[in-house]
Amino acid sequence: MEGQIRGYLWPKKAWLPRKTAMQKEAPKGLARTPVLTVKNISYYYGSKLALDDVSFEVFPGKVTALLGPNGAGKTTLFSLITRLFDAPTGRIEIVGRSAAEWGSRALEPLGVVFQQPTLDLDLTVKQNLRYFAALRGLKRNDADERMARALDALAMKERIGERVRDLNGGHRRRVEIARGILHSPKLLLLDEPTIGLDVPTRTAIVKHIHALARADHIGVLWATHLFDEVEPDDDLLVLTRGRIVARGTTKDVVAETGAGDLGGAFRLLIGGDTEEDIAA
């Protein structure tokens, strides 16, 4: 069906490169080896504090939801993890590689879907994905196979030859997600990837990403301010005014606050901050 994403499990053999020993083994114990470690990160825009001593970890096979209102610091945090800015304090490690020490090479196991659309509108879906595959050093044949599978799983295979300009917002998002996982990343960053999408498409993407994380053992950091995108078993970080005010599994965080649901817990945790308060 056009609006739905087909299947959740990726065809394993050809789609994924050889798995590391760590991934092949039962992930139980090793699942606690983080794919992303953020330690004591603070960041200022001029004199304005955007992030205040933020520390957390993201583990393989898990979706970690970064929940926060607009202006909480989510995009700044993503800019630091992706090295669009350098972190002046603290430490960021991606699969054990410190961004400060490894520089751009630390980004190798990273896939990103930015909040802002980043596709080239004048190129076709295929041309966009081929360009990205080339940036990631993938061979042309390998890239073509991967993109066919990724687009098929996202119900976008038929649109591979269309110009991105001619696609609607939901389809463009799917292409961005396909691009984010094209090189089989170990860590996937999603910065509010479902903004502006209708509910069925959002639901399908949320399910797809969760299934992908489990099946391919990818650690996912998902920035959002939409409660229905967070599942009870997801790891949860609540960020407000640049500080993490709660962490744990979603159900634990909800239970600890005594609220009936995540929305109530979130309102309690951010202390009645409105988006305007935070922006001020």
């Binding site: 200022y44 825009y45 001029g46 004199s47 304005k48 955007a50 800019s79 992706t82 090295r83 669009l84 800015f85 350098d86 520089g103 751009s104 090479r105 630390a106 980004l107 190798e108 990273l110 990103v112 930015f114 802002q116 659309p117 980043t118 596709l119 080239d120 509108l121 004048d122 190129l123 041309q127 081929r130 360009y131 990205f132 595959a133 080339a134 940036l135 990631r136 050093g137 993938l138 061979k139 691009r179």
Partner: protein, 270 residues
Amino acid sequence: MKPMHYVRAFNGIVWRELLRFLQQRERFFAALVRPLIWLIIFAAGFRAALGISIIPPYQTYITYDVYITPGLLGMIQLFNGMQTSLSMVYDREMGSMRVLLTTPLPRWFLLVSRLFAGVVVSLFQVYVFLLVAYFCGVELPPWGYLTALPALILTGMMFGALGMLVSSTIKQLENFAGIMNFVIFPMFFASSALYPLWKMREGSLWLYYICIYNPFTYAVELIRFALYLEVNWEALAVVTGCLLVFLGLSVWAYDPSFGIQQRKAAAAAA
């Protein structure tokens, strides 16, 4: 990082720029029409009034349209360099610059590859212009078309690096047209593109001094000599030096640790 990763990324960046260029036919025609108007209309008028005496690298008297051709090649490349910078500002606004900058390759390599992609596009325009100029009566030594290639790559890189530097200082796409006029026209007119420097000196000493401090003058002279199978070492040194300075500043401006991009984000948030 494997060497093939660099090769594939470089190919990918050049290929994308070519695809974008081929889809923007207006850009191609605009790039050609501008110098052709100078060659066919402007130079034809001046041809009757001006003859250029024997100055290196020419070994005989030449017509004005022959003299002006290297300057028009420089003009194509200068416009293309600025177009590259416009494209980078556009990419930044549209977000696609983020995809490039989050690639696990050194940032200097990504920027140089982007720069070179712009040069490939400009070379295509330059050779089409030379073909049209040939049919308009501008004949160059046959080997000159080949020996000019390294000079054109170098000058194209210099203009691209200048454009990249300009792009790093522009906050919004809307500001671009003003900056572009501010850079392109003074550089083009205050150079040896339209008149030999000795004639400029006779006409206006201060303009002459502006011309000899203008990197565009040296780019034009490098191309001019290369078209006649000669090397103007002074021009080569200046163009190479300017390329290194512009490129160094661009890489610095796009560096996540201390570049202009970071300061812009700070200004936006403040």
